[in-house]
């Protein structure tokens, strides 16, 4: 990797100040994407602002029909949290299925959604549950947060503080692993909420997206069979050596049904 300055601020304010002062500085949460990117010399930040010393960014709170996860909470902690498991088991299960144990013990929810990898798992939960992303400046609904491949509504220097998930009636996430990387080739998060069904798809497109046809069908009847005649379109989906757009479109249907069955 190239040389860079290293900062480890203790507060959100200090972190924001460091990032504001240096447009080429990069915030680091768990570093599970940033460090490999640096090692491959694909990024050349002037400084890395390590957020692991910012206590305000940690913690899990459950209550009032909501689950709030601090941005720096590690996947392993979400997966192991008795409160999350009880209130929103689909989220705990999703966190427990990210990457491998090493990734889960370093990677964070804030880092994952700020990076918005098209094959990441957490964006599916955020969009599928209609989460609210709280930053040091504002609150952003998930529907407005994920903009495109590795693109979010975050402004330069803006830091995610926490993510709040409304607790649905039912929810589940099913992932079809890309065989080599075991990222989601296709991941589908389904939720039955008071205002209808939500279905979010990751891995298949350039960014996480909602599958509206499936939502309509499931809002009418919450059952796997309700998706029988609903086909995801292959248009615009990703294609690579592991899956054509058609295969991904097919898997969206299979994973959605399995998620409904599991929920």
């Amino acid at each position: 990797m190239y040389e860079f300055a290293y900062h480890k601020p203790a507060s959100i304010a200090d972190a924001a100040k460091l990032l504001a002062a240096d447009g080429d500085a990069k915030a680091m949460a768990g570093g599970q994407t940033l460090i490999p990117t640096l090692k491959q010399r694909l990024a050349k930040p002037s400084a890395v602002v390590d957020l692991s010393g910012v206590k305000e960014l940690g913690g899990i709170s459950v209550g009032g029909g909501k689950v709030t996860i601090g941005a720096m909470t590690r996947h392993a902690d979400v997966a192991a949290s008795a409160d999350v498991k009880k209130a929103l088991p689909a989220l705990a299960a999703l966190a427990g299925g990210i990457g491998d144990p090493a990734v889960r013990n370093r990677g964070t929810i804030g880092g994952s959604i700020a990076n918005n990898d098209p094959a990441a798992d957490y964006p599916a939960a955020c969009l599928g549950l209609g989460a609210t992303i709280k930053t040091d400046k504002r609150e952003i609904p998930a529907d407005a947060f994920f903009k495109g491949m590795f693109e979010t509504a975050l402004e330069p220097g803006e830091l995610i503080v926490a993510v709040t998930f409304p607790v649905p009636e039912k929810a589940a996430y099913m992932k079809f692993d890309q065989p080599a990387s075991r990222y989601a080739l296709v991941g589908v998060f389904v939720a039955k909420t008071a205002t209808g069904a939500r279905v979010a798809v990751t891995g298949a497109g350039s960014s996480v997206f909602r599958w509206k046809d499936a939502e309509a069908a499931l809002s009418k009847t919450w059952s796997a069979a309700a998706l029988d005649g609903v086909k995801a379109s292959a248009a615009g989906l990703n294609a690579d050596i592991h899956g054509s757009a058609e295969y991904r479109a097919h898997l969206i249907g299979v994973m959605a049904k399995r998620a409904v069955e599991k929920a």
Binding site: A180, I241, H242
Partner: protein, 790 residues
């Protein structure tokens, strides 16, 4: 000493250091004043080098020196040699283009080394490499073998893209047999290209001693003496006496660490230029574009059968990818280690094989665990299933009907090899029993109820290892002998060091070889050390590959032990005042036959080094012997692998739910090590069948260039294996051993694919190429469903 000798499942002596992180790998070694090398590699597959300007880079912080191909050539140094000459059908020599250590004039694959930067730190070397200005005039790339032979294809080398066009067998007899055939079964198949991926990436340290003029190369090699010979004699012109090659602990090779690589020559040569040691350690993504790859065949095969399903003749046409340059043993793999195995375990009287080796703008391809035999086995065992389908016969019956009978050995095949022993009916019977083949249809029905497609597949394979009789391979084009050397040093107090020319990089030699000595001399295992991997310690050696370490290296040890025992008996006879002929070695004691007069082994060794009371007129002091052993024949492990899979028709995912292996590896020295070797081989075989594949795009860019896209098998991809041995002894080596390192990777791929094809039989599938990925299988099921709906 039965508890530690031949046949005992003793724990591996070497595991303590490996499991506690105390191994000593090349990258663990640091020499005083050491510098670090980074190799600047081509990012394009085919280009002319217009300019390489290192001026700016040379000024970068920490840079010690930068060298290009021009510097290397200007110093009068050679290219990387090829160790095997294959002849064309017309008797002419294969095309053997130069293989520069650092690119000269052209780059021919992604990863081709252009320059080496030597700096105080690795990071500084990398920083400086970015400042090298490389002007490449990109040429159209030949990414596939199909492209390589198209009229007007870009020429990778001056002589074109064909390395050789070779054949083996009786063409006329083959054609005559096909004319009389009742039926002919045909198959087109691909043997997918693999990236070896040893756990330890390659590394090399060159260390030139200005005081003595001696060079030392520390390297991740399976055969340090071979590297010394190739690099010293052909590349750098350094006499063996001034070149020491050390291969310390090596973390896996699978063939990829046999070859003499450019980086070894670069660090050795450059260390003398800069007067300091130089370390190069490969990064994982770099290894994808700098380690020789494996397999990569495209074949068409046909089997002629009579009305009873007996095989009359086999004809095979194969194109084999050599990559951009000839790696050390590349030409031999698709010829003498492939076509010679095409008779398999069957009595097919006529076999005719044609093999074209082609150059492409890809990494060189060479031996990878199995090396030619997995390709032959996959082709044959897939074809035999197609034969059964063509005849409407049972897959087992057609195999049994064509097996070489157990009483037919030695058996001369029509493709040069003479099998010494085997019992294919027996290994098949045991595998059928162990796998509960008879109960399969019930399991298939149960799976169907769960919505899964279950299939079962079988492979009855043979391979040739224990390479090899030197005169035979010499007549076939090998530029080396393939004997092995052992030196046994009995120390004064009776402990023993075995110096072997083989090299252990996962095989457990330190244990298995020690067991041979413990068994013979009757001394405890803890008094026996095995030393390998250093040309200054070991008299000579050809190294470890082709499952040869026990059959050839072990036999050399036995021969040296014969000499030790012979001499020790003379010493004992003197001390016991008896005739040497009357001395017996029993349980670690030299006994006068029929008496209770005895001397312990340690008393003899002490006498040899403190020869006060000693037959000094007829016997030299000391107790150390060396033996070289040249094998009389190849050895022929074989057996039966049975695989059961379940396919999820909605996703196309295949799960191996049961795997049964019954292997005839000859006499087993350590059953635990044998089982471990089979497990590892099966993981690689199943990996090839279902997961692994190396993909280039049409510009010759590596699309599966990291673990993000290259699917290595993981523990949860594999079932708990049911592994057994059922042996016949090798008849031409004293231990009766055959070899076990590669059987798992050779026997398993067709068993897996035969199972997948069986599971998909309702869709009319006759063949599916490896890897049988979910996407591929879903495609078959989906088109089948669509066709059914229409």
């Amino acid at each position: 000493m039965g508890a530690e000798g031949i046949g005992a499942a003793v724990r591996r002596k070497e595991d303590f250091r490996f499991l506690t992180g105390r191994g000593n790998y090349t990258d663990d070694i640091n020499r005083p004043g050491q510098t670090h090398a980074f190799i600047l590699r081509s990012q394009v597959a085919h280009a002319e080098i217009a300019k390489v300007d290192t001026a700016k880079a040379a000024m970068a912080p920490g840079v010690v020196a930068i060298f290009t191909g021009t510097d290397f050539a200007a110093d009068g140094k050679g290219g990387l040699p090829c160790g095997w000459l294959v002849k064309n059908k017309d008797g002419s020599n294969m095309q053997e283009p130069p293989h520069p250590v650092l690119a000269q004039g052209k780059v021919r694959h992604v990863g081709d080394p252009i320059a080496v930067v030597i700096a105080e730190t690795r990071e500084q070397a990398k920083d400086a490499a970015e400042l090298i200005e490389v002007d490449l005039k990109e040429l159209p790339a030949v990414a596939t073998m199909a492209e390589a032979v198209k009229p007007g294809a870009p020429k990778i080398h001056e002589g074109g893209n064909v390395c050789y066009d070779w054949h083996l067998g009786d063409k006329d007899a083959c054609e005559a047999a096909f004319k009389g055939a009742h039926k002919v079964a045909k198959i087109d198949l691909v043997n997918n290209r693999l990236v070896p991926n040893a756990m330890e990436p390659r590394a090399a340290i060159g260390d030139f001693d200005r005081a003595t003029g001696e060079y030392t190369l520390y390297t991740t090699s399976q055969n340090p003496h071979v590297i010394r010979l190739l690099m010293g004699a052909f590349v750098l012109q350094i006499p063996e006496s001034r070149l020491r090659v050390v291969a310390p602990d090596v973390g896996g090779g699978f063939g990829s660490k046999i070859y003499h690589y450019a980086e070894e020559a670069i660090v050795t040569w450059a260390s003398a230029k800069v007067g300091r040691p130089i370390k190069w350690t490969c990064e994982r993504s770099e290894s994808f574009m700098s380690d020789a790859h494996g397999r990569d065949h495209v074949s068409h095969a046909e089997m002629a059968m009579d009305k009873d399903g007996r095989f009359l003749a086999l004809r095979v046409k194969t194109d084999a990818n050599m990559g951009a340059y000839l790696s050390t043993f590349a030409p031999a793999i698709p010829t003498y280690l492939y076509a010679t195995l095409l008779a398999g375990v069957y009595t097919t009287p006529v076999v005719y094989a044609e093999v074209r080796a082609l150059f492409t703008n890809t990494l060189p391809v060479d031996a990878y665990r199995g090396a030619g035999r997995p390709e032959a086995t996959f082709l044959l065992e897939r074809l035999v299933d197609v034969c059964a389908a063509e005849m409407g016969m049972d897959r087992l019956e057609i195999r049994k009907r064509n097996f070489i009978p157990a009483n037919a050995f030695p058996y001369q095949t029509p493709v040069a090899l003479q099998y010494d022993s085997g019992d294919y009916q027996a290994t098949l019977a045991t595998a059928l029993k162990n796998s509960d083949w008879a109960g399969f249809e019930a399991r298939r029905a149960a799976a169907k109820k769960r919505g899964k497609l279950r299939g079962i597949g079988i492979s009855t394979y043979i391979e040739a290892c224990g390479i090899a009789p030197s005169a035979v391979v010499g007549s076939l084009g090998a530029r080396a002998g393939l004997y092995e050397c052992a030196n046994i040093r009995v120390h004064p107090t009776g402990s023993v060091t075995v110096f072997t020319g083989c090299h252990s990089h996962g095989q457990g030699h330190e244990t298995t070889y020690a067991q041979l000595v413990a068994d013979r001399l009757g001394i405890p295992l803890e008094q026996i050390e095995v030393s390998h991997g250093d040309t200054n310690k070991i008299p000579f050696g050809m190294g470890t590959y082709g499952s040869r370490s026990l059959a050839v290296g072990g036999t050399a040890i036995v021969k040296a032990l014969d000499k030790i025992v012979d001499k020790a008996k003379k010493i004992a006879a003197h001390l016991l005042e008896a005739a040497p002929a009357d001395i017996e070695l029993k349980d670690g004691k030299f006994v006068v036959a029929g008496t209770d007069k005895a001397k312990a082994f340690g008393e003899i060794s002490l006498a040899a080094y403190v020869p006060h009371n000693y037959p000094i007129d007829t016997v030299e002091p000391g107790l150390e012997e060396t033996a070289f052993y040249d094998p009389k024949n190849f050895t022929f492990p074989g057996g039966c692998h049975i695989c059961e899979v379940e396919i999820d028709p909605d996703t196309g995912v295949t799960k191996v739910v049961k795997f049964t292996a019954v292997d005839d590896v000859g006499r087993v020295i350590n059953p635990m090590i044998v089982e471990g070797q089979v497990h590892g081989g099966l993981a690689q075989g199943i990996g090839q069948a279902l997961l692994e594949t190396c993909v280039y795009d049409d510009k010759g860019q590596l699309r599966s260039g990291s673990y993000m896209d290259y699917t290595m098998p993981r523990a949860d991809d594999l079932p708990s294996f049911d592994v057994a041995t059922q042996i016949t002894l090798c008849t031409h080596n004293p231990l009766g051993v055959k070899g076990v390192g590669e059987v798992g990777a050779i026997g398993s791929p067709p068993a897996v694919i035969n199972a997948v094809v069986d599971a998909l039989k309702e869709w009319g599938v006759r063949h599916i190429d490896m890897p049988a990925t979910p996407q591929k299988i879903w495609g078959i099921i989906n088109s089948g469903r669509q066709a059914a709906a229409e």
